[in-house]
Symmetry: C2
Subunit: 312 residues, 2 copies
Amino acid sequence: MAIHALMLRDKPRCAAYAAALRGADLEGKAVLDVGAGTGLLSVLAAKAGARAVYAIEASGLAAAIQAAADANGVGDRVHVLHCRAEDAELPERVEVIVSEWMGFHLYHESMLDSVLAARDRWLAEGGLMLPSRVRVMAAPVCADAIIEERLAPFADCEGVDLSCFIGPAAQQLLEANPQVAVLDGAALLAQPRCLDEAELHTLPVAQAGRVAAEAVFVATKEAVCHGYAVWFECDFLKAAPPAGGDGNEFGTAEADEVVVTMLSTGPEAEPTHWKQTVVLLPEQLGASPGARLDCAFRLSPDPRMPRNCVLQ
Amino acid sequence: MAIHALMLRDKPRCAAYAAALRGADLEGKAVLDVGAGTGLLSVLAAKAGARAVYAIEASGLAAAIQAAADANGVGDRVHVLHCRAEDAELPERVEVIVSEWMGFHLYHESMLDSVLAARDRWLAEGGLMLPSRVRVMAAPVCADAIIEERLAPFADCEGVDLSCFIGPAAQQLLEANPQVAVLDGAALLAQPRCLDEAELHTLPVAQAGRVAAEAVFVATKEAVCHGYAVWFECDFLKAAPPAGGDGNEFGTAEADEVVVTMLSTGPEAEPTHWKQTVVLLPEQLGASPGARLDCAFRLSPDPRMPRNCVLQ
């Protein structure tokens, strides 16, 4: 329950989903909630007018979701399926799939595979995915908050110089790469770049969670660059993009008009429980306005951890 | 190194030791630092005039302590022994043993056994232990900070009532007892009581870490009592109490005169990395001024964790 309390306290997350479900035209439609957890999204969908909501939840929480739906006056429209997403049998196809599957730097230990498998089986043609589009973002950063916490204490403590420990401490910090931490907008040393954008209505399952990208950054300030921060953004659309699009509609005026809300987990947004993922460099770089801070990124499945972010 | 950075950033901890070592008469004396870590206390002792400081450290940090002592100009007086405290061979007895051995609620995973064993082998007659006296303290508390974080999110999220999850969440919270958390002075519902006071110059090794106590508390305010907080205090004396005392000198004017500094990890003190240990009750109690909130406490070694705090 502690993780659910954490997620429910994440205001930007919950507010984005609530706005997305209110903004989508759910009246009379069937909705599937993959990994329903406490049932928050299922209840929000039902309250937004959905005719039927199928809440799939594999954990023991499933038993209580019905009670939660009842308590909110939508118990007759929420149908709980206590099983894994892959094993679910629905009585009909759905017009909307909603799911909160995102992990650290988007794909780390995410449930996206299950969500896309459910899409291929249960989403009606022209149906809507919520979230609809996801982007992995990155930027070079000054990670003073982390450095200050982990290295500065050795510089001086009660008048004692322990700086001979800074080297080993910095080495351990690097070995713990990447780190999940909260930075703020001032940490950004360049305009963030999108490493990868995925359209969830069409993304093939086999491609999910794999990102290989190079990004060119131009420093905007004089500062020490400790490494790169990686985070994600989600767009929630009002309706699915037209079929047969080649992806070039991203960013056009037509596409933007249907974005109901956007959830950003970046340094410039209100902090979320995803924080940012920071990859520290072995050596600090000096950044000056106009200087290039390029980097190659790769996100790929790790045998030990389903998705791991590796900087190359 | 992360744990050492955390400890060095703990200002009340470091300041108390620095004051204790400055306040003790170390001039020309031999000092033993058990579990020296980064060597901070060894360097402080040498800077305070100690003739010789023996820094025992079993970890790989031992190699760097000499460099730290050199960097602070006391390398000729700090002698590093890279071994377990039990295996150390010193060339002489010492007049002072300093050690930072305290764990959560004092005895949890503490190194006290090793320190007392070193005392029995190496402390000269009349020698000084730093810290000198330790107390386990307790008080009934209103733990709103914990409750708010863990249970309140289920009360309402985006207009959805998830209160049917509060019961299970509260149950899990109880199963996670005790919790290490920071409370503030306002959380205290009664005058704190001392559950146990130990004089480290005389405490038998076999008795270390065992506390069984009942405490009578009288509520001082109208509030909800969620449970009890346990923490510790350390007195650092200028000199060891006279031999043959029966313990009744605690708290007398004569004894108080030799207290150089006191480190408190309680809710009313500046927060430390030890925070407080909070034991939640299965049922919340209502407290009113004058009401009794009695409790029995037991601290005893746990086979899985060296010291565990159990509420009975």
